[in-house]
Point group: C2
Chain length 317, copies 2
């Protein structure tokens, strides 16, 4: 069986183009860009909770990094470096090769270097840290929304949640539909280009990782405002659209996790710029409501308030 250091060398060491010193010492050495702020975040993924243990390892490698890149996108940051700590129940070279391939492909696509981490034996656990940079004062925080701002969301919501329902056998889909949704669940695309383009346009932003309901509550709380959402305007994919009579429809669309779209606020004067940005990126940006005095989230259907109890995902709720 390969040893720990062999594993790191074989699967997790490739040229780190933007590091002074990468994998192989007690720590990595990095040279931050002069005058930039550092943006850092961490996510831990546990088998059986965040992903099925039999998930395709290539897709899992992609997703493990994607959810972290999504945090960079939500801050308007340019990602630069990642660290990966892995607990593995056993050494499965096929799995490691696949995981490494998926992780590396997405990292190289965004010029992110893997500069360190740890490998140990234990119940399957992926812990990733991501570091990026942003010009001072330009980070997209959660606390900057103003009363009167529009509320926007990128892409479509609910795909990943319905993919999970499909995998659990609770929703019937054609194989083509199922695979389209599964791609969204297992290979989310972090909205990095959108994030950096929103600098100077968005007043607040976060990524929709735990479901719109829960995440929006955080944004409203941090900004000291209420978010008003017209639910009929929330963008959904064609596959999900067809499922609208399903009893889980609103729960999946408004509170399903794993979408990794960006939700952000912007002054109404930026509507035209945002429409142009949407066309430029080839990514739908949809206005779903606005911010006003108050607190929490007010759902409306056709302009009428509805009293829905929607909860975002909470690992200990």
């Amino acid at each position: 069986m390969s040893g720990e250091f062999d594993l790191i060398r074989r699967y997790f060491t490739w040229p780190a183009h933007n590091a002074v010193l990468g994998v192989g010492d007690d720590a990595a050495l990095l040279q931050p860009s002069p005058g930039q702020q550092l943006v850092v975040s961490a996510d831990m993924l546990v088998a059986g909770r965040h992903f099925f243990a039999d998930t395709d390892p290539v897709r899992l490698g992609h997703k493990a990094l994607a959810v972290n890149l999504s945090d960079m996108a939500a801050m308007g940051a340019t990602p630069r470096w990642a660290m990966l700590s892995l607990a593995l129940p056993e050494v499965d070279e096929g799995w490691l090769g696949g995981f490494s391939q998926g992780f590396r492909a997405l990292a190289e696509q965004h010029a992110v270097s893997l500069i360190g981490g740890d490998t140990t034996c234990g119940p399957l656990n992926l812990s990733i840290q991501i570091m990026g940079e942003v010009p001072p004062g330009q980070a997209l925080r959660r606390d900057g929304a103003q009363a009167g701002d529009d509320l926007w969301v990128s892409g479509t919501l609910g795909d990943a949640a319905f993919a999970l329902q499909s995998l659990l056998g609770k929703v019937r889909l054609t194989p083509v539909e199922a695979s389209m949704l599964c791609l969204r669940l297992e290979q989310p695309q972090p909205r990095l280009a959108l994030g950096t383009a929103l600098r100077g346009l968005a007043s607040a932003a976060l990524d929709v990782s735990d479901g719109l309901a829960g995440d929006l509550r955080h944004l409203a709380h941090c900004s000291g405002l209420q978010a008003v959402v017209e639910v009929t305007t929330v963008p959904v994919s064609e596959v999900v659209q067809v499922l609208s009579p399903h009893p889980l429809y609103w729960q999946c669309v408004l509170a399903g996790g794993d979408d990794y779209e960006l939700c952000f606020t912007a002054a109404p004067q930026h509507r035209e710029a945002l429409s142009a940005l949407s066309r430029q990126l080839g990514l739908p940006l949809t206005r779903i409501g606005h911010m006003q005095a108050g607190n929490g989230v007010q759902w409306q259907e056709g302009g009428q308030p509805v009293d829905w109890e929607l909860q975002g995902f909470d690992h200990f709720a």
Copy 2:
């Protein structure tokens, strides 16, 4: 039961004096010191492998951070920020309170801010990332040793390994002896003051986390040299000294993990400066050998080569 966000707020949020934005957004925002290099490292600790699940949580919180601070010490870096990701099988408020207390006390002692992380449900796993700073060119790397350099080690070796043997019932100690060694196993003191003082003195350094034998092999390999160690000069505590007839003696002293002392090389011209530094820090610094052309580690006993097969700890060996 408390939710994830309550847990983070209650146990893992305290003022982050050196962060632009700490816990609570998609990522933390940090302002690196102008002109400094960034030093980053990660460690993952798994219950049942790196620690007993019933370890005192205060000590565990200390140790989880200490092993990361030790990596900063080994690089000659000043630690500044930490991230903590926790997988917990259940919410045990007593455990969390203790863990948080031990972690925070050590963090504040070294002016390290906890600026983010993740909390999730799963088999107990502690994943920590540490970030520090060092002036460009002054980091203590593994690859800088020169032929003719002295080989040094701080403190004493083997205490933690014998503590583990004692906990496993394989060594008989008096209660006082056992508790002295357990303190070394469970509350290691990262050698941060030594690390920064070694800038400009040491040519290479690492921390002894997996055992001198394994770690020294890395230093020798990275520097393209052979390390020669006179085993009778390796410093041990009084408690361990008495155990020298024990069949595990050399294995524990030379290959036992968890010591978190620094092992470093320095030109002979620095001997006096290092003796003065030892007195100043109140920390033994002992010359245990030298570097020469070749590879691997050559153990000597009374000047005679001995052919000992000693292995450092490897999670997958």
